[in-house]
């Protein structure tokens, strides 16, 4: 049975009430969604929140899933929407209406990156991940999101454009300017290390 068929079978059983099938379905995607969240938010507690919300959304909408799309695309669409929601909430919580400095445009303000990266044991023994998060922290949330979708989720520019409701050209430009910024950060890191 192919992975897609297996997803379908698990979804059908879960809809009939099999907790086992539901758990198996979650287990298949939680690693991807959690790591996706880590890269987007830069910290594990937000990544955890995001993942829980994504799977709650999946659970609530499972009956709406039509087999015409891949389940993995569907779940990442939900993940994208939840991340946008989370961004909006954070922005509401962190910016006071009077002194709002909206020109920055980066909503994941608490992205640790520079100074307050998490204790290493929570990021595994993974120096490389710390490095990646530091690089991503230099990007605006729009840029970070597009890099995530293109580099880590291997979406096409057309798919990204549709997901983010922008033109394909904007997606391309945004991605390239993000890469240029990352190039500068990466070179700086190489000099330092």
């Amino acid at each position: 049975m192919s992975l897609i068929d297996e997803d379908q079978a698990l979804i059908a059983s879960a809809l009939k009430g099999s907790a086992y099938a539901w758990e198996k379905l979650v287990k298949r995607y939680e690693l991807k969604i959690y790591n996706h969240g880590l890269r987007l938010t830069g910290n594990s507690s937000d990544a955890m929140d995001l993942m829980q919300e994504v799977f709650l959304g999946v659970y609530r909408n499972l009956h709406r899933f039509r087999g015409d799309a891949k389940f993995s695309s569907w779940i990442f669409r939900i993940a994208h929407n939840k991340a946008v929601d989370m961004n909006r909430r954070k922005r509401l919580m962190t910016s006071s209406p009077k002194f709002s400095t909206d020109d920055e445009g980066d909503e994941f303000e608490k992205f640790p990156g520079k100074k307050e990266l998490e204790p290493e044991y929570r990021l595994g023994n993974i120096e490389l991940n710390v490095r990646v998060l530091k690089m991503l922290s230099e990007l605006s949330s729009d840029q970070r999101s597009i890099v995530e979708l293109k580099v880590f989720q291997s979406l096409t520019f057309d798919e990204i454009a549709e997901l983010q409701d922008i033109s394909t050209n904007t997606a391309k430009t945004r991605f390239y300017s993000a890469l240029k910024k990352l190039k500068v950060v990466s070179e700086k890191q190489n000099v330092l290390s």
Binding site: W22, L31, S44, Q52, Y121, T156, L182, S186
Partner: protein, 226 residues
Amino acid sequence: MSCPKTHYLLQEYFSENLSAVARDELDRHLTDCVHCNAQLESVLLAQQDLQQWQEQRVPHWDRHLELFRQEHRIDRPVSRFWLSWQWLPTAASLAMLCVLLFNVNVISNDSGFSISFVGSSASGSNLNAQLADFEQAQRLEMQQLVARVEGRQDSTNVQLLQAVMEQAQQSTADSFDQMYAYFEQQRLLDLQDMRAGYEQLVDSDYETIRSLQQLVNYVGYQSDIR
């Protein structure tokens, strides 16, 4: 030294649906133009840096199973209960109890077999003693079960500790507290899971014992009246 085409060309370089002709043209320019080539190299290096990301383990969470079970409770008990082994001892003890309670006698005589149910106040008190034994045995079995589950829990905790230790190899002594906190949190979560499991188990078992006791009391009461 710079090239006016760099921005446009490199932006297109990452496009998936570039026509074959356009791709050829791009490749040709990239081999000819030193500036574009260098720029592409460094941008690709940055992308490579990102790709060194290592997937990180997901911390313990309940996968919304509690919610799932709550919302699917209606059709759960039937299938779960009868599919599991738990009904077997209950059924056996119930059958035995019937034989005991009604003191079944099978008498063979000229006209064939006859089954009689004999009950007296004397056998009633005898019965209570037997039931006390039965309850004792059940309790013992329960304790063994609990001990077994606890043993298993300990071994998973050890595994967890090992996993955490491995992860923390590079961290220094002052991160030990944080590691301990992490471990403690995982342990508490496991304990919560386990406790919920116990409670269910204990509830169902004591329910059986209690209803048996009520039955005995009732039978005793009936024979007292007679």
